[in-house]
Symmetry: C5
Subunit: 355 residues, 5 copies
């Protein structure tokens, strides 16, 4: 994830513009139209969308991938979507939000995804109106296949309920994607914790940084989802039936759980960095202390052997010229002296609890 | 406690599913049915629950341990519980919350427990409806035995009051479990404090980390209980009589006291880490300072003895070749010089308050 | 002050229990009954309390020290106090709060006290009802002697006003005890500041820690008093006349001033720890830098004298074997070389601003 | 950007004064008057402004650069502007705000601008009244040229809508200038991140500081814009039509996105400083550890060679006088001993994972 | 500024007492009475105040310096001021607040002042009632001279407006005194910043601490002014006309700007401390690294010269006894070996980027 992930038009551009972003990678974009009621279900996968026939069936159009400005404009014309909403879909990297344009509910959410050990966030957008739901996902993988399967298998009450319940099923799928992502984060943090408490390596620092960085960025993308679900749950809206509201409340609860986890992980990653730093410094301290003591024990000894390496005796003319050298037990006495000094220092260090 | 302690179904699963979690340890699950009014009390411990007879007595069903999906579904069918509530009981590790489904009050709380010096949090859930209270606890120990005893001993007003007062008694028991846990935390922190201020060991760091970690995780589990009790106390609810509300207020007060303690402990653990780090670094500094000074005193002395170990005198052809070696008092003078230098340095260090 | 200072009954105990706390030091408990109106005032100090005669005079019962469960129960029966309130008085260490039980106002406050240079917090509780005020203080010293004196000396309007004004006078006395405590804190902090900026000792760290610790604990005990006074001042209550409210507002203002001071002190103590750490590390750095430079200057010199201590000249068979030793000015030249190196290094260090 | 960027009159000056600020650089100030309706558009660039003729056309007066007190007073007189508003335009460096003076809406916003790699913030002010919009920008570059171009090219609905929509177009242009600025910040932060994780230099510290500093200052200037747009969007105002409100909501959304980015960047810059410090200290530790070990290995060896440099053998009169020197294999044995010690120490260090 | 700057009476004192504070420096206190209407203005400087004649003119009484308890009591009696308000004026060091006593508006504000490079805060208090304004300032300098001058010079609308506008003029003067103080802070911070980024000295630490300390204390005194102005502006009050409210809003805006600046400065001072610490540690690291490398290069060389200082050759009886000494090119070879080792180490250090 980059720090600035938003697409935008140059300041001063007419609102609702759908100019191409040259730096954006062009991805194939596919449309899938699902139309169903209790007894029947039709799925058509095709590049061109078909106008919803006035047969009273619910229409779900899903656009997967980065739609070109023209495609968006065409869909917008057909369903009467507001240009600002289309621009928000086009300029991916928006903050999750809920808006209402002329009776149409417009939603933007963030879909976190783990791909090859890195976390990416796709933008998912929804329109809800009587009789239809539009969904857009600009990632490479369609997150809504399980919902389609449930529709086809008639699992739960999806087939018998209105578009608001379909929207809930889609929202729920998007938000619950947070759990596997956060679970993998939790495991990574526990891994890092073990590494930190056990034996801290240099690489651990980079890991902690990576986790902190991803948490900060993920938090920016997921935090507003709580507000979105809150607004959806607690404000009266004609598009959403009371029976669906209780399910949305469950969904809202999940966004809070995700925020709680993100906060906990952040606290934890800060704590781990502290422990890492203390651990590294403790380890260095231990090494330096032992090494310095070895040096300190030898320094007076080296001085003593230096003393008796002096050449004052070379010309033996004075009784003051290093008489020790002429003592019978001079050499062993020096060794005794040195051993005494070394032992004395070690005892002193041990007493002071330095060793 | 692990960082990610929540059970969840794969995103896109039908809401209200009760699929088994393969990684979850299967525990024996026992049901206890208590039915009472002022004069009579029946307790039946059995695996199968009995339908509450319409004899006007209050029914309390308690499920201890991890109930299988089938058991939950059966209980749910019998009492008409909402599938989302059952899923929350099944997917343990939920955030404490209060919900209302069709006139039934549904509560999730966290029950902290000290087991073998580590802290675990069990999930406790309640349903409250006219005439009955259901309680679920997924831990190995039944926390509600004291309440049953009070019922049997007719202590207090428990027998003569309605299900809301029974619920209060259960809630109170769950929340008050926080006090012994926090008391043990307080003692541990005071222990750590003594260790830190006295003489900091490496192991102290791991202890501080363990305390911080457990506080962070405990906080995540206990913090929302305040909101739950607040919602229960301050919102008008038909299931809760006014006479019970004053008791719930006391309960709410306890959740605030627990949060206060958790906040204080967190501040304290941060402060202790600071003190630990300063203490360790102070100690190292003292050691290094003393050792470095020993070395620094000997370094010029070693240089001097080195000077008079040079062999310029070997061939005594020049009056400039180390004439000191030929002085009568050369050797004692060198000793005097060296003692003077050492004393001078020590005085200098002492003056500068380095020693 | 200990980290966990609350007394509590085991979880699951009947609410309103007054069981003895074995670990609590039994203190003598004394009751003082004051009954007065404008013209008359009776004070009776005795262990047993007398029922307030129906003579229209205001009754003030003050209980000093730790009252036994029986005493509390007797007082409770006499005045019709709620068992939960009695339990809160019995289980000292409660959070300050205001409660209303059946028209009786119940208040808990914290009374900070400096005793032998350490800070203790006593629990003070009040009941206010038409015609009487009950006060409880579980410390060894009666803080309300000045109020009694004012009553006896007819100072201010105390004698002519109702029980709400008496309650205000008592609250004001409790809250204003915060000022001398915080003043002594302020002086201690300024003392520490001087110590830190001047010359940091190891003992300063322990002082800073003690201040931070006491601030954290004091904050926990005093912070909720603000809410209590706020609730008392800004909510309509029948027990409190409008004329008294303006005085309570002054009292509330004092709790805010105390919180402001506590916050400022906390910021300050954090800042002082930072400065202390920087100061200590600056000082160590200076020492190490100077010592390391002394060593660094001597190291090449010691190498040089080592060179001319080698014995290649012992058998003078080769012109390549240390010819320097045979030069006429060899020895003085080596001295010159060494002085040049030492001076060169010092100049280099000075140039780089290392010295 | 300087820390204190506000212009102000001396305290006690009459409110609404327009005294010159001597320290302010005098810049040329130009006025541009645009008058248009659906079919016609007139632009007049001139130093003197013309009174808006009563022809029902919309008047937009834009003042670019630092207007003198006289110019401001003249414009104020003509349009009936409040002296406090004029003073706020004159005393640049104000906090963004929205005010209403006698039915006129007055707005101050901050316009961030990148110029030669440094960020500057210009003050932009607006007046909105029925029939006219006044705009002031005290920077050197006119940010509203794209809006004029859109007017001239009849792009979007600008020509057919009222002054509130023109105001929206201007506001949108000002706020969207935040995106390129934040994008460049994001790139700089990613650059710094790479530098920090790779190989930290001294210069990196200055870069991190510069980023943090600019973020703090930018945050102060941009944070209040959120409130301004919020007040504009969510309060009922007669000057703003409902159809424009949906566009202002989009604008408000952008201010939130900008605040989110600023917060994320701040968290990130804090994290980067932590990583930088750890990285630098890790690197130093590694160096010191290796160097200290080299020294530690040689210290005992140097002691040993010192031993056999002593002169006890010079007069070979005692069998105790360094007999090792007379052993046949004495010299190679010493070498073996020294190699054994060195290898032993290296093995010991490696075992302890110090190396 | 001291940490605890509040004057207070001993706890339990009768409210409204005006006892002298022995530690308070007695300052001369002067009263100035100004009475004016549109055409006339009288100023009388005297120690005794004159009762305002009932001639419909506006009365402004200003008390400069520390008024004695008697003076305050006399003024209080004359104007019917509440004893609690008088006590707040007497016990200087109060928190800014707004109170209403029987239709009189009472205000306390903080007046920051730079005197000899240190910042002091004076307490300023106001009473507003129909027909008169009382102001008290306990500092040595009268801050309201510019307002008197404006009255005398008939500048602005001061003469023609009511007492609420006079109060606004006084408030505005007090609050705007914050700007020069904060400007000088800003300059000091920029100075410190330059010092920190350039070359950090020990004295810089003390400067950063001084700035942080003063910011913390100033913040405590100025923060509540925002609330005061907010309450004054946004609550309906009979004493304040609607026409004055727009001016008070401007005043309120200034308090927000001051808080913004204080917050920014605080963030900045924290950031500067971080940079200072990193800078100092960077510098030390550089020194230590270079010095340690010098030592490390010489340590093996010193060992080698030690080897050839051994005396195994003294009695040349074994071919194993240091044969190197007898090689023809022994001495130069040793030099070559040592140079090779030194160069090798330097190359190694450079390769690892340690140098």
């Amino acid at each position: 994830m980059t720090f600035f992930a938003k697409h935008y038009h140059p300041p001063g551009t007419t609102p609702g513009s759908l100019q191409a972003h040259p730096q954006r990678v062009r991805q194939a974009c596919s449309l899938r139209l699902v139309r169903y009621d209790e007894p029947t279900l039709d799925v058509s996968e095709h590049a061109e969308f078909i106008a919803p026939a006035d047969d009273g069936r619910l229409t779900w159009l899903h656009v997967q991938g980065v739609a070109s400005g023209e495609t968006l404009a065409r869909i917008g014309d057909h369903f009467g979507l507001h240009p600002l909403a289309l621009e928000d879909i086009h300029n991916a990297g928006q903050r999750p939000k809920v808006e209402e344009y002329d009776g149409l509910l417009f939603l933007i959410l963030s879909l976190p995804r783990i791909q090859d050990d890195t976390i990416t966030v796709d933008q998912v957008s929804f329109f809800l109106a009587p009789g239809y739901v539009l969904s857009f996902c600009d990632g490479p993988v369609n997150p809504f296949d399980p919902v389609l399967k449930r529709l086809q298998q008639r699992a739960g009450k999806l087939r018998s309920r209105g578009p608001d319940y379909l929207l809930y099923a889609l929202l729920d799928t998007v938000i619950d994607q947070g759990f596997p992502v956060l679970e993998s984060f939790g495991l990574e943090l526990e891994d890092v914790e073990e590494a930190v408490v056990g034996n801290a390596h240099r690489a651990t620092l980079a890991r902690i940084h990576r986790v902190k960085r991803e948490l900060i960025l993920l938090r920016r993308m997921l935090w507003p989802q709580r507000e979105v679900l809150n607004a959806l749950t607690h404000q009266e809206r004609e598009q959403i039936a009371d029976g669906t509201r209780v399910f949305l409340r469950d969904c809202y609860d999940h966004t809070i759980q995700i925020m709680d986890l993100l906060e906990t992980y952040r606290d934890m990653s800060v704590s781990l960095l502290d422990i890492y730093l203390s651990s590294v410094s403790n380890r260095l301290n231990e090494i330096m202390r032992v090494l310095t003591m070895i040096a300190t024990v030898f320094i007076p000894l080296t001085f003593i052997v230096g003393v008796y390496g002096m050449n004052f005796d070379a010309n033996n003319t004075s009784p003051w010229a290093m008489p020790e050298l002429y003592w019978y037990y001079g050499y062993p006495l020096v060794w005794l002296l040195m051993i005494a000094i070394a032992v004395g220092m070690l005892v002193f260090f041990r007493r002071r609890r330095w060793l």
